[in-house]
Amino acid sequence: MSLIRYESQARAPLVEGNKTYHDVTEDICRPVEAKPSKLWWVGFIISLGLLGFGVVSIYMDIVYGTGQWNLNKTIGWGWDITNFVWWVGIGHAGTLISAILLLFRQGWRTGVNRAAEAMTIFAVMCAGQFPIWHMGRVWNGFFVMPYPNTRGPLWVNFNSPLLWDVFAISTYFTVSLLFWYSGLLPDLATLRDRAKLKWSKFFYGLASFGWTGSTKHWQRHEALSLVLAGLSTPLVLSVHTIVSFDFATSVIPGWHTTIFPPYFVAGAVFSGFAMVQTLLLITRKVLGLEEYITMEHIDVMNKVIVLTGSIVGIAYLTELFMSWYSASPYEWFAFKENRLNLNSPYGWSYWLMMGCNVLSPQIFWFRKMRRNILVTFFMSILVNIGMWFERFVIIVTSIYRDYLPSSWSTYYTPTIWEIGFYMGTFGLFFTCYFLFSKFFPVIAIAEIKHILKKNGDSYKAGYSKEEMESYDAFEHEQSHHH
């Protein structure tokens, strides 16, 4: 750690436009303090509409049961679990940015981490809906908790991956929320100290917990962030690993494979970064934050997308090879007939997945494409469609033809209430995101100020390497001076 660490002049500045500390505060607080734009209202109302559709769909599910969905004895898992895995995966990018990149000391994370963490929390909230409402008799949902009960007490099965999921997802949500909110405290205090309206004084006064910016508090805050990052890093890897165990520990051909944990984690980060791109490209434009979420940020995230997309591609090929090499006729059938065969009922979904996830991101090997906003936006949508189909392929194509051909279910299409439920989670996600972008600073103000003097436009050029080194030496001396 140093007062001002030297950053190579070859690296592009992460904050453009010769900002001072005060400019940073003004720029990031402006959207919060201004009245919401018409565009915001339009987006918010559409989101609320989708949320309403979701509420009706869940109502139908509660009243008439999961029979409202087109699941049957062969395809017991369909859209519902596909959506669950998809949403959980999206959350992973936020934690990667906020935690893993903090440990790796990647300066560029500061521009995007706040929004990405918010995305994580909302995505996990959406993911959680699916297992909850899939329970059918949701009023008995508390049965998953190990509490002393009058049924024995009969305890939950701690050997089951589905119970691991309950613990993993709830821990992930709690820790992400704490990490996000503890990071927000100083910024909420900034808003509190600037507030002019009565309600905002009250709201930010309440929300900022009385933060003052005391040096001792900052010292503890830094320690807290670092340890939370250290905890979140294995946590985020564990979450999608455990999600993949839901499949990998079973004996279904197409699921029963040891490659699943790393393959799921890479896919999760891949789809999550695509969603971060989708959200931030809109956010930076609508809120006028192009100087903080720069082309450099978009470029770097596209590099992550091509990297993780290629890892996912290698995983697809490995999985395919292993199913043939295993010499298990059932494994090979699942791949050859249910997936590779374009004429099979779901063959198209396998090739759609391959095209969206493996081939199309390769475009990002070109710097020009990485720095093209339209291409990036289009790709971010494409990747998320591809990743949704990945989960659909894994789930449906593995089970629609099981060991007994007489019970093969030739076609599975979702009902309107399955679609409505999925749309409803989009509503929930975007309603939360719109509220977040209105009431909270979408960029971490304090963290931007912290990197401003080493990554800011004007400062970066202003310091010579020798000057920076003298700061470093000073800092080093200080740290050993007790």
């Binding site: 140093s2 007062l3 001002i4 001072t20 500390y21 005060h22 505060t25 009969l154 305890w155 099965n157 701690f158 050997n159 691991w164 613990f167 993993a168 821990t171 709690t174 820790v175 704490l178 503890s182 100083p186 205090a189 900034t190 100290d193 006064g205 309440l206 917990f209 009385g210 933060w211 003052t212 910016g213 005391s214 040096t215 001792k216 508090h217 900052w218 010292q219 503890r220 805050h221 830094e222 320690a223 340890v227 939370l228 905890l231 294995p234 946590l235 564990s238 455990i242 304090a446 963290e447 100020k449 912290h450 003097k453 000073f474 800092e475 001396e477 200080q478 740290s479 001076h481 007790h482």
Partner: protein
């Protein structure tokens, strides 16, 4: 009501603040606190604050979580109501590793955040004073506590001489919300670092 007096000065450059802190401490003034809009690495060291032990607390919470998971699951599945899952042993530790890990993380994270809030006395509805509203924006605000022996005019002049701006006297109720719960400073050594 116990009212305390503070000499408050503002800084706008880290390069001015650091030597100023050193000089103020060397002159024998008692720095109540320095409020900054973002973490400034090394400032705690210059102010002579001890390192925080928050990570140790985190470690203890973490192993408490692990122990809770192992203890409870063992008791439930191996003693209280053993169930035969596919002929596997009642005490099947490898299958419990995921939940042991999750509870470790959960306990450590929740415990640390609560401890952090408790140590810093942060909670909803808590109101504290940091002398200058701009210190959450772009200003580094230093508050020096006045004792009976402090000559105020001298302190103001001294603070101005080390680069502080808008130096003034402020009165605050010495209640817990401005009180220092951070009395853990180390004694100021002979060797004074220079920037």
């Amino acid at each position: 009501m116990n009212v305390k007096k503070f000499v408050v000065g503002n800084f706008y450059e880290e390069a001015v603040l650091f030597p100023a802190v050193t000089k103020v401490r060397r002159a024998g003034y008692k720095i109540h606190d320095v409020y900054t809009p973002f973490p400034i690495h090394g400032l705690d060291k210059v102010m002579g604050l001890k390192d925080t032990d928050l990570h140790i607390a985190g470690f203890i919470y973490g192993i408490t979580g692990t122990a809770t998971a192992v203890g409870f699951i063992t008791w439930m599945l191996a003693y209280d109501w053993p169930i035969n899952f596919g002929g596997k042993p009642y005490f099947s530790l490898p299958a419990w590793i995921p939940i042991m890990f999750e509870l470790t993380v959960l306990f450590a994270a929740v415990g640390m955040v609560l401890t952090f809030c408790w140590l810093c006395q942060l909670a909803p509805f808590v109101k504290k004073d940091h002398f200058n509203l701009r210190s959450t924006d772009d200003t580094f605000t230093m508050a020096i506590e006045c004792t009976d022996k402090t000559n105020e005019a001298e302190a103001i002049a001294f603070l101005q001489s080390v680069g502080a701006q808008d130096v003034e006297i402020q009165h605050r109720e010495a209640d817990w919300w401005i009180g220092r719960y951070d009395r853990e400073t180390v004694r100021f050594g002979k060797k004074v670092p220079q920037i």
